[in-house]
């Protein structure tokens, strides 16, 4: 193999002999990647740097103004002393810790139900998934109708069951309402991913277990869960990032008319992203908003890194650790 005439075939394991081929392949590689790469630079790297620069300045309008100067860590120390900012971080953390387990449990539960061999599989799958494709705006208004104080679906059901039918969910329990909305709206995709994961477990393992005498619960705990741990890890990390980034839904389900970015959003629902944006579009304080954003990025990075590293202890990696 690998003579002078070998054409430019890309295979995983065969080394290139000639330097020119390698050069050409590198060129082709970056060519294929160019649109994304340009986007990466323009939409990710540059903004990150810019945001950092902003956070060190006193930028307060959209245009560069003559008073613009370097202020060092002033924005950061201001953030450090800002109670509202810490509160928003706390609320974001609460959201993450509440939503992600609910997501995983719901998605796995739905996936297992769908995988249990029921009829009309496609129908149920569609119904479970449909909430995902509904646009945010529609979801929000539907949710407002469901949780409305006067005549909302939830209050009606509660009333029929004999409980309190007068709760003002959107005002008094904004986070709970928000969590339910996100769980309802986000269960679909994760469910599909778990279904894929479940299908990856050979049926024979269950059969051997059945013959050995394991009942359904035992099979779930000893076979399904351990073999699903890579998928769970994936969903965990992805879920944490998604939950941390929530900020549109709180705006849309806030009671009353929205004006701008949610002057009417209950503080319990103001996540960090939202808080930063409020500082910018409300106060025009770019520098401060950027500082908040950077603090958030670093915290999120640390959290996800920790979660990911914890995988050594509970995730079953099929290839990396014990491969031949």
């Amino acid at each position: 193999m690998g003579t002078a005439e070998t054409p430019l075939a890309a295979t995983a394991a065969r080394p290139r002999r000639r330097a020119s081929f390698r050069r050409r392949e590198t060129f082709a590689f970056y060519g294929f990647l160019s649109p994304w790469l340009l986007g990466f630079i323009a939409l990710t790297s540059v903004p990150l740097v810019l945001a950092f620069a902003m956070s060190l300045s006193n930028l307060t309008t959209v245009n560069l103004h003559t008073n613009l100067h370097y202020v060092g860590g002033q924005n950061y120390s201001r953030a450090y002393h800002d109670h509202e900012m810490w509160y928003s971080l706390q609320r974001t953390g609460i959201l993450m810790v509440t939503i992600v387990p609910l997501w995983i449990v719901t998605q796995l539960g739905l996936a297992m139900i769908l995988n249990a061999g029921i009829k009309f599989l496609g129908l149920w799958r569609t119904l479970f998934y449909i909430a995902v494709v509904v646009p945010v705006v529609a979801k929000a208004f539907i949710w407002k109708a469901v949780f409305a104080q006067d005549g909302g679906l939830v209050n009606r059901v509660l009333g029929a069951l004999g409980g309190n039918s007068n709760a003002d969910w959107l005002l008094d329990h904004p986070t709970a309402t928000l969590v339910m909305l996100l769980v309802w709206g986000g269960a679909g995709i994760g469910m599909l991913i778990f279904i894929a994961g479940l299908r990856g477990i050979p049926e024979e393992l269950y059969e051997v277990a059945r013959i050995d005498g394991a009942n359904a619960i035992r099979r779930f705990v000893s076979i399904t869960l351990p073999l699903l741990t890579p998928v769970i890890m994936f969903q965990l990390v992805w879920g944490l990032v998604l939950a941390a980034n929530v900020f549109v839904e709180p705006v849309l389900i806030s009671p009353g008319l929205q004006q701008g970015l949610g002057s009417t959003v209950p503080t319990q629902n103001v996540t960090v992203n939202l808080y930063a944006l409020q500082r910018i579009f409300g106060d025009g304080d770019f520098g401060y908003g950027a500082a908040i954003a950077w603090i958030f990025v670093l915290l999120l990075l640390i959290v996800t890194a920790l979660v990911f590293l914890s995988g050594r202890f509970w995730v079953f990696y099929s290839r990396e650790q014990y491969g031949k």
Partner: protein, 297 residues
């Protein structure tokens, strides 16, 4: 002496016919279906509720009989043309979705192939970086982006959407990369022997066989952009707004300064319909696509 053969003609001693259903099995089936129905109801109920409430009298909230009587079907006509031209904003939505989705899917497919099948310096680093971009919170990117967009004169235009489109999506790139990595390497070899370089191999072999991931990509990204709210709310003037924003703010009774809930719901449902239809049409491909790409992390 050899034992005789037992074949078709041997007279079988019939054992009693018994019903083949074990009672335990029946119970678990019942519980299973109970769960299925309960969950299905929970998931669909809000949408149904939204629909019922879209038929109320315009100035009502959501109180009144569950199914409104009389049902104001003309709310839908009102949502279409009563306060603003629904079709105008629908067109906006279509344009924005298109220019943000189509290039993104293509870019992501190309990038996915490159990560899966090409060897080059820095490939693995770039891949990790790419995955890392999904971790970056919205605000830290958007804040400077907004500033740049305004200063480059792209505020109040559709240009940002095109840029987002062309730059692809990390999640989609991951999807395509996993999918293409699972192709048999022999396919590449055969193509190479037949004279194809990377471009040809990708265009003639990989892309045509990508129905699953392509469907997933279009549906996921497309429905995401279809319902987009925040970028449009912050970057576009009213005449370019997609329905994602217009529906939220457009149905206000001009005299009383309140939101016309039934009309908003009607508009929202009209707005939702195309996304749901697209999903229904492509759903078989969608589920197959996610299963085959083996998203196991």
């Amino acid at each position: 002496m050899t034992q005789g053969a037992v074949g078709v003609d041997a007279v079988p001693t019939r054992r009693r016919r018994r019903k083949r259903v074990r009672p335990a099995r029946l119970a678990t089936q019942a519980i299973l279906y109970a769960f299925v129905l309960a969950f299905a109801a929970i998931f669909v109920a809000p949408i149904a509720w939204g629909f019922f409430n879209s038929l109320r009298e315009l100035h009502q909230g959501v109180s009144g009989p569950v199914i409104p009587r009389p049902a104001h079907w003309d709310n839908y006509r009102y949502a279409w043309s009563g306060l603003f031209s629904f079709s105008h904003y629908l067109w906006n939505t279509v344009v924005l979705t298109f220019i943000a989705t189509v290039p993104a899917v293509l870019t992501s497919a190309f990038a996915g192939y490159a990560f899966a099948r090409m060897r080059a310096r820095g490939r693995n680093t770039l891949f990790i970086l790419m995955l890392g971009t999904t971790f970056i919170p919205f605000s830290i990117v958007f804040i400077p982006l907004f500033w740049v967009v305004v200063n480059l004169g792209m505020y109040s235009t559709r240009w940002p959407w095109l840029i987002w489109g062309v730059s692809g999506s990390a999640f989609l790139i991951f999807l395509f990369r996993q999918f293409y990595a699972s192709f048999p390497v022999e396919l590449d070899d055969a193509a190479a022997i037949d004279g194809c370089g990377h471009l040809r191999t990708f265009l003639h072999i990989y892309l045509p066989n990508s129905a699953g991931p392509l469907a997933v990509a279009f549906v996921l990204l497309g429905t995401g952009w279809w319902g987009e709210y925040i970028y449009a709310a912050l970057l576009l003037p009213d005449r370019l707004l997609p329905l994602g924003v217009k529906v939220a703010t457009g149905y206000n009774d001009p005299t009383a300064q309140i939101v016309l809930i039934p009309a908003t719901l009607a508009g929202a449902l009209l707005f939702t319909l195309p996304a749901v239809l697209a999903f229904l049409v492509l759903q078989k491909q969608l589920t197959r696509g996610i299963v085959t790409t083996g998203l196991k992390g």
